[in-house]
């Protein structure tokens, strides 16, 4: 039992740190609220979707920006997608990068776009790792027979 409490505390601390450091925002909480008995794996499901989409989009972006003549319209629509999905799960920092990315697209600033792509990748990987760690922690708690603490 003590282990569960330990894990729960760890979970809370970890989640709080994710919020405090700006990786996640309120939208993630909303997402968690949507998860209930009828839909137990909702968060994981959505986040997995996000991972899949993101990787595809990042690849697309990388190829689009390597073209001789960059189609900024297309790049912009990819970034828009990326921004939409990241904001839906509350990956705040990714969303922020996307905002700047789109600005560079508008200016047709290739250098800025490339830099943003790097940042986006970086942030995406960060948040993926963080979320995966979080899910692992959840699994551990559930396996230990505890319940996931609800964050205020």
């Amino acid at each position: 039992m003590a282990a569960v409490v330990q894990l729960q505390r760890q979970f809370i601390e970890y989640t709080t740190s994710l919020y405090n450091e700006g990786y996640l925002d309120d939208q993630f909480t909303q997402l968690q609220k949507l998860q209930d008995e009828s839909n137990p794996d909702f968060v994981v499901e959505v986040v997995s979707l996000f991972f899949e989409d993101s990787e595809k989009l990042l690849n697309n972006l990388a190829t689009a920006l390597q073209q001789k003549t960059v189609d900024y319209k297309q790049v912009d629509s990819h970034v828009h997608q990326f921004k939409g999905s990241s904001s839906s799960i509350g990956a705040q920092r990714v969303t922020n990068v996307c905002v700047h990315f789109r600005n560079f697209c508008e200016e047709k600033n290739l250098e800025g776009c490339l830099r943003c792509l790097q940042q986006a990748k970086h942030e995406y990987i960060l948040v993926r790792n963080k979320l995966e760690a979080l899910f692992r922690l959840e699994q551990q708690i559930l396996q230990a027979g505890g319940s996931i603490p609800i964050m205020e």
Binding site: S38, N96, H100
Partner: protein, 954 residues
């Protein structure tokens, strides 16, 4: 795009306002004029000249009468003198006539004559008084040349001439004097016909038979002017129609006398009054071209301007005489006329000048007024322009500001040295402050530009007040301030109004109080305005602040600024007695926020509600803030139909109070399913009994209020010793407990709960050891928080309760969405999944489409969807286009059939700018929800049309 449109909108509006104002400026105000507006000087001159003439005319009119009187005076005096002179003269002439008769009677008719020189002399001497004007009379006999010798011998002398008294030379006829009065005895035997004057006289007299006069000449023996009167004496009585020849034949002699005209007139004038005033002259005017003077000096004297000539008739038809009168002095100027005219003229001049200056002044004032009016209009236009400018600019600043903040956030995530991090964090804090300020300015500008509209939705103001309190609970705990809210029982549970704006006002007031209060309390009260007014009026004689034992009966025991909030009145307000409030549609609330802060300096109290005015610059340095909040609050309160004012005493505190008008909620809506705006308080405490141990009645009332809301029956006691043991819980204030802490232990029957504003480590340890470890409620109290604590303390199922609370919030939404078939259109998988998840959670049956095209396929009529959530930005066909096509399909279908197809379509958009909403409506959408999905947003959007169109199939 949205921003630009809005900006253009503003600009247009602005132009309209300005042009309106210019129109107002253009129409110069028309005055009804009763006086000339220009050339007043000319009018004044005209006035002066016109009345100058009038004055002269008036003078003439008055003076004419005066002159006439003078003239009349002269005429009457002159005529009087002439008549008297004539009378006197004719009296003398008559007498001489009588002498002539005497001579003819006694000298010629009697033979021999009975008159001799002696008799004549004596008689004339004795009757001389009858002829005062005649120096003497004499009788000359007609002697023919043939009779001369006989006559000379008879009288013993020769006939001598008058000139040299020599014996007369030979002539046809002589007229020697035979009788003479003694005074003229030297005339004896002088031939009267030898003098030119006398001869003419004699000839004329005998031919006419009347008394005749000579022209004036110097009399012998005196230097006076005189005339000689000659009357013929006939030998026989002549018939009245005798011819001239007969008369000459019958002539016997001539009686003559010399009139001393000068003495005559002198005497006469001496008898009359007013002699000095006039100059009298008498002329012989027989020869009109050469008038001979008989009396008066030859020189011109007296007033030449006015002359009266009176005719004199001395009985000689041949001779004509006249009297001329003049005033000696010029007639004096008529003072009455002069003064009347002059004074009148002066008055008229003054009146004219008065009108002149008056007109100039009025014109001046009117011109000034016009100028002021124009300036006022311009100032107002400038004010409107300012507000619009502020609104526009603030809005435009917000967008880049968000970028700046985002970049700063990104910057903070990079590897920074601690100094750099510090700089970036400072910049971020400043940016946030700026955004807050801009939002406030925007709010104010919106209000000023009249663009702020209030909502009217039902809400529970108690829960709003609890929320506001929770915002400040951290700060107040930190400062150790007692923060409390109390709503009167008479205030309805649910009212209709704008909860957001109400909250904004309360937040602002409480925020200010928290900012400026270091110790004591902040107390928010809500009462019915009518009730509170009635109580204040009925109880005006209570003592200041209900002071007793050095403590004030306020929340924290410190003095408060507003004396009216005494405990006595408070008791009345809280008493259960029925207050017969009017059952009108509106409910007016009186909200007061009382603090014990630093107060507002007296000199700054007038400026409190002016934007950007803080008490002084040091205040803003010390406490921060822009000072715009109160002005916004004032505007909001006024929009809500109320008034805000305050009482403040420096170093004691301030009490802000405002009224606001809400609509009463109808009965059926009160029983409606619960909404997020309503408070969800657990009902499991109904019927429990609690005892509050508190020596401060106001504080106890607050605790009681929160417990009552939970359905708990409450007793209040002032000391622990009195605490009754049959209650389920005993709530003890920390200070009461500390003051006699050792005396009590946990009672068996009820749970002891400690209430505290703040607690130190040692106090906490002490409480823990006393058994309060789990039963400590930190203030500020909120019903929901108290409920949660009680659940914990009383060991009720926390988890179940929590779940219930969670569910309750969404019950309403669930009721709306349950069983509805909803289409979600979004090209983004993740978004789609999240939206679907959210809607499913509320019981909706969700289907998804990943593009506008597939949505169109799914929505081919007939379909079974109740609503559609549509992403706007999608490749190929965006949300607007898709919606337009859906609407087109629907209208085609509606044309033919009776059924009315209209699928509610809600846009999902990340940027919630107002313009987007307009675009949504333009393309036929019913509303929008912001992305990512949030429960409250979803509720507002969905409620809007599901509520108004309750579907029958659920």
């Amino acid at each position: 795009m949205g921003l630009k449109m809005q900006a253009n909108g503003h600009g247009h509006h602005h132009l309209v306002a300005v042009s309106l104002n210019e129109q107002q400026l253009g129409t110069k105000r028309k005055y009804r004029t009763y006086f000339p507006r220009t050339n007043q000087g000319k009018y004044l001159a005209l006035w002066i000249i016109a009345f100058g003439f009038a004055a002269v005319y008036v003078y003439r009119c008055i003076d004419e009468g005066h002159q006439e009187r003078i003239e009349e005076g002269l005429v009457s005096m002159c005529d009087q003198r002439a008549r008297m002179l004539q009378d006197q003269f004719s009296v003398s002439v008559n007498h001489v006539h009588a002498l002539a008769v005497l001579v003819s009677t006694f000298h010629y008719y009697k033979n021999p004559s009975v008159i001799d020189q002696e008799t004549f002399a004596e008689y004339t001497a004795r009757t001389a008084f009858e002829r005062p004007l005649l120096s003497g009379v004499a009788y000359a006999q007609r002697v023919m040349n043939s009779e001369r010798e006989e006559f000379e011998s008879q009288h013993g002398g020769t006939i001598r001439t008058m000139a040299n008294k020599e014996p007369s030379p030979h002539r046809d006829e002589y007229a020697p004097v035979i009788f003479a009065q003694e005074t003229v005895s030297y005339l004896n035997l002088l031939d009267m016909m030898s003098g030119e004057e006398d001869r003419e006289n004699i000839l004329r007299a005998r031919s006419t038979g009347k008394a005749v006069l000579t022209s004036p000449f110097k009399l012998l023996g005196s230097h006076h002017l005189g005339v000689v009167l000659t009357i013929p004496v006939y030998k026989s009585k002549l018939p009245p129609n005798a011819s001239v020849r007969d008369r000459i034949e019958a002539t016997a002699g001539y009686l003559g006398g010399a009139f001393d005209v000068e003495s005559l007139v002198e005497n006469l004038l001496g008898q009359l009054a007013g002699n000095q005033e006039i100059v009298v002259k008498v002329y012989d005017v027989t020869n009109t071209s050469d008038p001979l003077i008989m009396y008066g000096r030859q020189t011109e004297e007296g007033d030449q301007s006015r002359t009266r000539v009176s005719k004199l008739d001395f009985g000689d038809p041949f001779r004509k005489h006249q009297m001329t009168c003049r005033y000696l002095h010029k007639a004096p100027i008529s003072w009455a006329a002069t003064t009347t005219a002059a004074l009148g003229y002066v008055i008229v001049l003054l009146v004219g000048y008065m009108f002149y200056t008056g007109a100039i002044h009025i014109v001046q004032v009117e011109d000034d007024f016009d100028t002021m009016q124009q300036l006022k209009v311009r100032a107002e236009a400038a004010d409107v322009a300012k507000s619009q400018f502020l609104a526009t600019v603030s809005h435009e600043i917000r967008t880049p500001m968000n970028g700046i903040l985002g970049m700063l956030a990104l910057l903070l995530d990079t590897d920074l040295s601690s100094t750099q991090r510090d700089y970036a964090q400072t910049a971020q804090a400043c940016g946030r402050a700026l955004i807050t300020l801009i939002n406030e300015v925007l709010d104010r500008a919106k209000i000023e530009a009249g663009k702020l509209e209030l909502e009217a939705v039902p809400f529970d103001l108690r829960s709003i007040l609890d929320d506001v309190l929770s915002l400040f609970s951290e700060k107040s705990r930190h400062k150790g301030i007692e923060l409390a809210v109390l709503v009167s029982d008479k205030v309805p549970q649910i009212v209709m109004g704008d909860p957001g704006r109400f909250r904004q006002v309360i937040t602002n007031l409480v925020g200010n109080s928290v900012k400026f209060t270091e110790q004591g309390h902040i107390f928010v009260q809500v009462h019915l305005a009518e009730h509170s007014k009635a109580v204040h009026e009925s109880k005006s004689d209570t003592c200041m602040n209900g002071r007793s034992d050095g403590q004030f009966k306020t929340l924290s025991g410190r003095e408060a600024a507003d004396d009216r909030n005494t405990w006595d009145k408070f008791k009345h307000l809280m008493s259960d007695q029925e207050f017969p409030f009017p059952t009108s549609q509106n409910v007016t609330l009186m909200v007061s926020v009382e603090d014990t802060g630093i107060g507002i300096p007296l000199h700054a109290q007038d400026l409190v509600f002016m934007p950007f005015m803080q008490a002084d610059s040091s205040t803003s340095r010390h406490y921060g803030g822009t000072g715009i909040g109160l002005s916004i609050s004032k505007c909001l309160v006024e929009l809500m139909g109320g008034q805000i004012n305050f009482i403040s005493r420096p170093q004691i505190g301030s009490t802000f109070s405002f009224t606001c008008v809400f609509k009463r909620c109808e009965k059926n809506t009160i029983t409606d399913p619960k909404r997020p705006n309503y408070d969800d308080l657990p009902t499991s405490f109904k019927g429990l009994k609690a005892t509050i141990v508190d020596n401060k009645p106001v504080r106890a009332a607050v605790t009681r209020y929160h417990l009552k809301r939970l359905g708990v029956l409450v007793d209040v006691v002032t000391g622990i010793g009195i605490a009754v043991s049959d209650s389920d819980m005993i709530l003890v204030e920390k200070d009461v407990w500390l003051s006699n802490g050792n005396l009590i232990n946990v009672t068996k029957s009820g749970k002891m709960i400690l209430l505290a504003t703040n607690i130190t480590g040692t106090e906490f340890d002490k409480a823990k050891s006393a058994g309060f470890s789990d039963t400590l409620i930190m203030k500020p109290l909120r019903a929901s928080m108290v409920g949660a604590c009680l659940q914990q303390v009383l060991g009720m199922g926390k988890k179940a309760e929590q779940g219930k609370v969670m569910a309750n919030g969404s019950v309403y939404l669930r009721g709306l969405l349950c069983g509805k078939k909803i289409l979600v259109v979004d090209d983004n998988r993740v978004n789609r999944r999240v939206a679907a998840g959210a809607l499913k959670k509320f019981g909706a049956d969700v289907e998804c489409a990943d593009s506008g095209k597939s949505a169109l396929d799914l929505l081919k009529l007939p379909h079974a969807f109740d609503a559609c959530f549509m992403d706007i930005q999608m490749p190929e066909m965006d949300g607007f286009e898709a919606t337009r096509r859906i609407r087109l399909m629907e209208s085609e279908a509606n044309d033919g059939s009776k059924s009315e197809w209209h699928l509610p379509i809600l846009a999902m958009t990340a940027d919630v700018i107002h313009a987007t909403f307009e675009e949504c409506q333009k393309s036929g959408m019913d509303g929008y929800v912001s992305k990512p999905f949030q429960e409250e947003n979803l509720y507002q959007a969905v409620a809007k049309f599901f509520e108004s169109k309750p579907t029958t199939d659920s």
